[in-house]
Protein backbone atom coordinates (compact mmCIF):
# COMPACT_ATOMS: atom_id res chain seq x y z
CA UNK A 1 0.00 0.00 0.00
CA UNK A 2 2.75 2.45 1.00
CA UNK A 3 4.65 1.41 -2.09
CA UNK A 4 1.76 2.53 -4.30
CA UNK A 5 1.40 5.88 -2.53
CA UNK A 6 5.15 6.50 -2.67
CA UNK A 7 5.31 5.54 -6.35
CA UNK A 8 2.58 7.98 -7.36
CA UNK A 9 3.90 10.83 -5.20
CA UNK A 10 7.43 10.42 -6.56
CA UNK A 11 6.12 10.09 -10.13
CA UNK A 12 4.13 13.31 -9.96
CA UNK A 13 6.98 15.19 -8.29
CA UNK A 14 9.61 13.93 -10.74
CA UNK A 15 7.55 14.67 -13.84
CA UNK A 16 6.68 18.12 -12.45
CA UNK A 17 10.28 18.95 -11.63
CA UNK A 18 11.56 17.81 -15.03
CA UNK A 19 8.71 19.75 -16.66
CA UNK A 20 10.05 22.87 -14.96
CA UNK A 21 13.57 22.03 -16.19
CA UNK A 22 12.34 21.76 -19.78
CA UNK A 23 9.95 24.72 -19.77
CA UNK A 24 11.56 27.30 -17.48
CA UNK A 25 13.15 30.36 -19.06
CA UNK A 26 15.45 31.01 -16.08
CA UNK A 27 18.61 28.90 -16.01
CA UNK A 28 18.85 28.95 -12.19
CA UNK A 29 15.28 27.70 -11.75
CA UNK A 30 15.98 24.92 -14.24
CA UNK A 31 19.10 23.86 -12.36
CA UNK A 32 17.39 23.81 -8.97
CA UNK A 33 14.46 21.82 -10.37
CA UNK A 34 16.90 19.35 -11.94
CA UNK A 35 18.61 18.83 -8.56
CA UNK A 36 15.22 18.22 -6.95
CA UNK A 37 14.20 15.77 -9.65
CA UNK A 38 17.44 13.79 -9.18
CA UNK A 39 16.72 13.37 -5.46
CA UNK A 40 13.14 12.22 -6.17
CA UNK A 41 14.49 9.66 -8.66
CA UNK A 42 16.66 8.21 -5.89
CA UNK A 43 13.35 7.59 -4.08
CA UNK A 44 12.37 5.17 -6.87
CA UNK A 45 15.65 3.32 -6.40
CA UNK A 46 14.93 2.90 -2.68
CA UNK A 47 11.43 1.60 -3.45
CA UNK A 48 12.95 -0.91 -5.90
CA UNK A 49 15.38 -2.32 -3.25
CA UNK A 50 18.41 -0.79 -4.97
CA UNK A 51 19.81 1.03 -1.95
CA UNK A 52 23.32 1.27 -3.36
CA UNK A 53 22.16 3.00 -6.54
CA UNK A 54 19.89 5.30 -4.53
CA UNK A 55 22.83 6.52 -2.47
CA UNK A 56 25.04 6.80 -5.57
CA UNK A 57 22.30 8.80 -7.28
CA UNK A 58 22.17 11.32 -4.42
CA UNK A 59 25.95 11.55 -4.03
CA UNK A 60 26.96 11.65 -7.70
CA UNK A 61 24.04 13.44 -9.35
CA UNK A 62 22.78 15.81 -6.69
CA UNK A 63 26.22 16.26 -5.20
CA UNK A 64 28.91 16.16 -7.86
CA UNK A 65 27.10 16.88 -11.12
CA UNK A 66 24.86 19.66 -9.81
CA UNK A 67 27.84 21.26 -8.02
CA UNK A 68 29.71 21.15 -11.34
CA UNK A 69 26.78 22.81 -13.12
CA UNK A 70 26.54 25.45 -10.40
CA UNK A 71 30.27 26.07 -10.79
CA UNK A 72 29.94 26.31 -14.57
CA UNK A 73 27.06 28.74 -14.24
CA UNK A 74 29.39 31.23 -12.57
CA UNK A 75 30.95 31.69 -16.01
CA UNK A 76 27.68 32.29 -17.81
CA UNK A 77 25.23 35.14 -17.57
CA UNK A 78 22.39 33.39 -15.73
CA UNK A 79 20.27 36.41 -14.83
CA UNK A 80 19.31 36.94 -18.47
CA UNK A 81 16.38 34.91 -19.77
CA UNK A 82 17.20 32.03 -22.07
CA UNK A 83 16.26 32.92 -25.64
CA UNK A 84 14.20 30.33 -27.47
CA UNK A 85 13.79 30.32 -31.21
CA UNK A 86 12.40 27.35 -33.07
CA UNK A 87 13.64 27.45 -36.62
CA UNK A 88 13.07 24.13 -38.35
CA UNK A 89 9.81 22.29 -37.76
CA UNK A 90 10.96 19.33 -39.85
CA UNK A 91 13.56 18.18 -37.31
CA UNK A 92 11.03 18.43 -34.48
CA UNK A 93 8.49 16.31 -36.37
CA UNK A 94 11.09 13.68 -37.29
CA UNK A 95 12.29 13.41 -33.70
CA UNK A 96 8.70 13.21 -32.42
CA UNK A 97 7.94 10.31 -34.75
CA UNK A 98 11.13 8.49 -33.75
CA UNK A 99 10.43 8.97 -30.04
CA UNK A 100 6.85 7.70 -30.43
CA UNK A 101 8.16 4.52 -32.10
CA UNK A 102 10.79 4.17 -29.36
CA UNK A 103 8.19 4.45 -26.59
CA UNK A 104 6.04 1.76 -28.21
CA UNK A 105 9.09 -0.53 -28.45
CA UNK A 106 9.95 0.11 -24.76
CA UNK A 107 6.44 -0.69 -23.62
CA UNK A 108 6.24 -3.86 -25.74
CA UNK A 109 9.54 -5.27 -24.44
CA UNK A 110 8.15 -7.18 -21.42
CA UNK A 111 5.50 -8.77 -23.67
CA UNK A 112 7.95 -10.30 -26.16
CA UNK A 113 10.51 -11.38 -23.53
CA UNK A 114 8.39 -13.69 -21.38
CA UNK A 115 10.94 -16.48 -21.03
CA UNK A 116 13.75 -14.26 -19.78
CA UNK A 117 16.31 -15.85 -17.44
CA UNK A 118 18.16 -13.98 -14.68
CA UNK A 119 21.88 -14.35 -15.35
CA UNK A 120 22.87 -13.01 -11.91
CA UNK A 121 19.96 -13.85 -9.59
CA UNK A 122 19.83 -12.51 -6.04
CA UNK A 123 21.19 -14.83 -3.34
CA UNK A 124 19.28 -15.41 -0.09
CA UNK A 125 20.37 -13.38 2.98
CA UNK A 126 22.74 -11.19 0.95
CA UNK A 127 22.12 -7.45 1.01
CA UNK A 128 21.89 -5.23 -2.03
CA UNK A 129 25.22 -3.44 -1.50
CA UNK A 130 27.05 -6.73 -0.88
CA UNK A 131 25.48 -8.28 -3.98
CA UNK A 132 26.41 -5.29 -6.17
CA UNK A 133 29.98 -5.52 -4.88
CA UNK A 134 30.13 -9.27 -5.55
CA UNK A 135 29.02 -8.91 -9.17
CA UNK A 136 30.91 -5.67 -9.83
CA UNK A 137 34.26 -7.09 -8.75
CA UNK A 138 33.88 -10.49 -10.41
CA UNK A 139 31.86 -10.34 -13.62
CA UNK A 140 32.20 -6.63 -14.36
CA UNK A 141 35.77 -6.01 -13.21
CA UNK A 142 37.10 -4.97 -16.64
CA UNK A 143 34.27 -2.47 -17.38
CA UNK A 144 34.75 -1.12 -13.85
CA UNK A 145 38.45 -0.47 -14.47
CA UNK A 146 37.66 1.06 -17.87
CA UNK A 147 35.12 3.36 -16.21
CA UNK A 148 37.82 4.43 -13.77
CA UNK A 149 40.20 5.26 -16.65
CA UNK A 150 37.37 7.10 -18.44
CA UNK A 151 36.68 9.22 -15.34
CA UNK A 152 40.40 10.01 -15.03
CA UNK A 153 40.55 11.12 -18.67
CA UNK A 154 37.39 13.21 -18.20
CA UNK A 155 38.85 14.86 -15.10
CA UNK A 156 42.12 15.75 -16.85
CA UNK A 157 40.31 17.08 -19.92
CA UNK A 158 37.95 19.12 -17.75
CA UNK A 159 40.86 20.72 -15.92
CA UNK A 160 42.79 21.40 -19.13
CA UNK A 161 39.80 22.80 -21.03
CA UNK A 162 38.40 25.03 -18.29
CA UNK A 163 41.66 26.30 -16.82
CA UNK A 164 43.48 27.17 -20.04
CA UNK A 165 44.41 30.87 -19.84
CA UNK A 166 42.11 31.24 -16.86
CA UNK A 167 44.71 33.44 -15.12
CA UNK A 168 44.37 36.00 -17.92
CA UNK A 169 40.63 36.26 -17.45
CA UNK A 170 40.59 36.31 -13.68
CA UNK A 171 43.72 38.37 -12.94
CA UNK A 172 43.57 42.14 -12.97
CA UNK A 173 44.95 43.58 -16.21
CA UNK A 174 47.95 45.93 -16.20
CA UNK A 175 45.77 48.85 -17.36
CA UNK A 176 43.39 48.30 -14.46
CA UNK A 177 46.32 48.41 -12.04
CA UNK A 178 47.38 51.80 -13.44
CA UNK A 179 43.80 53.08 -13.11
CA UNK A 180 43.76 52.03 -9.48
CA UNK A 181 47.07 53.82 -8.86
CA UNK A 182 45.72 56.99 -10.49
CA UNK A 183 42.65 56.89 -8.30
CA UNK A 184 44.82 56.81 -5.21
Amino acid sequence: MYEVIAFYIFSILTVGMFGIVVMSKNALYAMSALAGGMIFISGFFFILDAEFLGVVQIVVYSGAIMALYAFGMMFFDTTRDVSEKMRSKKIAYTLSTLSAILIVVILCMPLVSENIQASYPAIENVGNVQMVGLILFTKYLVPFELAAIMLLVAMISGIVLASKRMDEHLAIEEDDLEDIKELR
Partner: protein, 100 residues
Amino acid sequence: MITLTHYLILTALLFAVGLVGVMRRTNLLMLFFSTEILLNAVNIGFVAVSHYYGDFTGQLFAFFIIAVAASEVAVGLGLLILWYKRNGSVDLNSLQMMKG
Protein backbone atom coordinates in the same frame (compact mmCIF):
# COMPACT_ATOMS: atom_id res chain seq x y z
CA MET B 1 0.04 -3.07 -6.82
CA ILE B 2 2.81 -1.45 -8.82
CA THR B 3 3.97 -3.60 -11.71
CA LEU B 4 6.80 -3.36 -14.17
CA THR B 5 4.47 -1.70 -16.69
CA HIS B 6 3.92 1.24 -14.32
CA TYR B 7 7.64 1.84 -14.15
CA LEU B 8 8.09 1.48 -17.90
CA ILE B 9 5.31 3.99 -18.53
CA LEU B 10 7.01 6.39 -16.12
CA THR B 11 10.32 5.81 -17.94
CA ALA B 12 8.68 6.55 -21.28
CA LEU B 13 7.04 9.70 -19.85
CA LEU B 14 10.31 11.05 -18.44
CA PHE B 15 12.14 10.16 -21.64
CA ALA B 16 9.50 12.07 -23.62
CA VAL B 17 9.94 15.09 -21.31
CA GLY B 18 13.69 14.96 -21.96
CA LEU B 19 13.15 14.67 -25.73
CA VAL B 20 10.84 17.70 -25.66
CA GLY B 21 13.65 19.58 -23.90
CA VAL B 22 16.21 18.47 -26.51
CA MET B 23 13.89 19.58 -29.30
CA ARG B 24 12.80 22.99 -28.03
CA ARG B 25 15.94 24.28 -26.31
CA THR B 26 18.59 26.21 -28.19
CA ASN B 27 20.76 27.08 -25.18
CA LEU B 28 23.56 24.52 -24.86
CA LEU B 29 23.45 24.43 -21.06
CA MET B 30 19.72 23.64 -21.19
CA LEU B 31 20.45 20.89 -23.72
CA PHE B 32 22.85 19.37 -21.17
CA PHE B 33 20.07 19.41 -18.57
CA SER B 34 17.78 17.61 -21.02
CA THR B 35 20.37 14.89 -21.65
CA GLU B 36 20.62 14.36 -17.89
CA ILE B 37 16.84 13.83 -17.85
CA LEU B 38 17.14 11.25 -20.64
CA LEU B 39 19.88 9.33 -18.81
CA ASN B 40 17.92 9.34 -15.55
CA ALA B 41 14.77 8.10 -17.24
CA VAL B 42 16.68 5.15 -18.70
CA ASN B 43 18.23 4.46 -15.28
CA ILE B 44 14.78 4.08 -13.70
CA GLY B 45 13.84 1.62 -16.43
CA PHE B 46 16.98 -0.47 -15.89
CA VAL B 47 16.54 -0.66 -12.13
CA ALA B 48 12.84 -1.53 -12.45
CA VAL B 49 13.57 -4.38 -14.86
CA SER B 50 16.39 -5.53 -12.58
CA HIS B 51 14.01 -5.61 -9.60
CA TYR B 52 11.12 -7.39 -11.30
CA TYR B 53 13.23 -10.07 -12.99
CA GLY B 54 15.53 -10.59 -9.97
CA ASP B 55 18.64 -9.86 -12.05
CA PHE B 56 21.42 -7.51 -10.96
CA THR B 57 22.70 -6.70 -14.46
CA GLY B 58 20.28 -3.79 -14.78
CA GLN B 59 21.53 -2.13 -11.60
CA LEU B 60 25.14 -2.45 -12.70
CA PHE B 61 24.31 -1.01 -16.11
CA ALA B 62 22.63 1.95 -14.38
CA PHE B 63 25.79 2.34 -12.29
CA PHE B 64 27.96 2.56 -15.41
CA ILE B 65 25.50 5.02 -16.98
CA ILE B 66 25.96 7.28 -13.94
CA ALA B 67 29.74 7.09 -14.44
CA VAL B 68 29.35 8.01 -18.13
CA ALA B 69 27.07 10.93 -17.20
CA ALA B 70 29.61 12.26 -14.71
CA SER B 71 32.46 12.24 -17.25
CA GLU B 72 30.16 13.69 -19.94
CA VAL B 73 29.37 16.67 -17.70
CA ALA B 74 33.06 17.26 -16.88
CA VAL B 75 34.17 17.31 -20.53
CA GLY B 76 31.07 19.07 -21.84
CA LEU B 77 31.17 21.86 -19.29
CA GLY B 78 34.88 22.42 -19.99
CA LEU B 79 34.14 22.79 -23.71
CA LEU B 80 31.16 25.03 -22.96
CA ILE B 81 33.26 27.38 -20.81
CA LEU B 82 35.87 27.53 -23.56
CA TRP B 83 33.22 28.37 -26.15
CA TYR B 84 31.65 31.02 -23.90
CA LYS B 85 35.03 32.71 -23.43
CA ARG B 86 35.52 32.83 -27.19
CA ASN B 87 32.02 33.84 -28.32
CA GLY B 88 30.23 35.27 -25.29
CA SER B 89 27.21 33.06 -25.87
CA VAL B 90 26.23 29.41 -25.40
CA ASP B 91 23.39 29.57 -27.90
CA LEU B 92 23.24 26.85 -30.55
CA ASN B 93 22.80 29.47 -33.29
CA SER B 94 26.22 30.91 -32.45
CA LEU B 95 27.75 27.52 -33.28
CA GLN B 96 26.44 27.75 -36.85
CA MET B 97 29.54 28.89 -38.69
CA MET B 98 29.01 27.28 -42.10
CA LYS B 99 25.39 28.50 -42.54
CA GLY B 100 24.30 25.11 -43.89
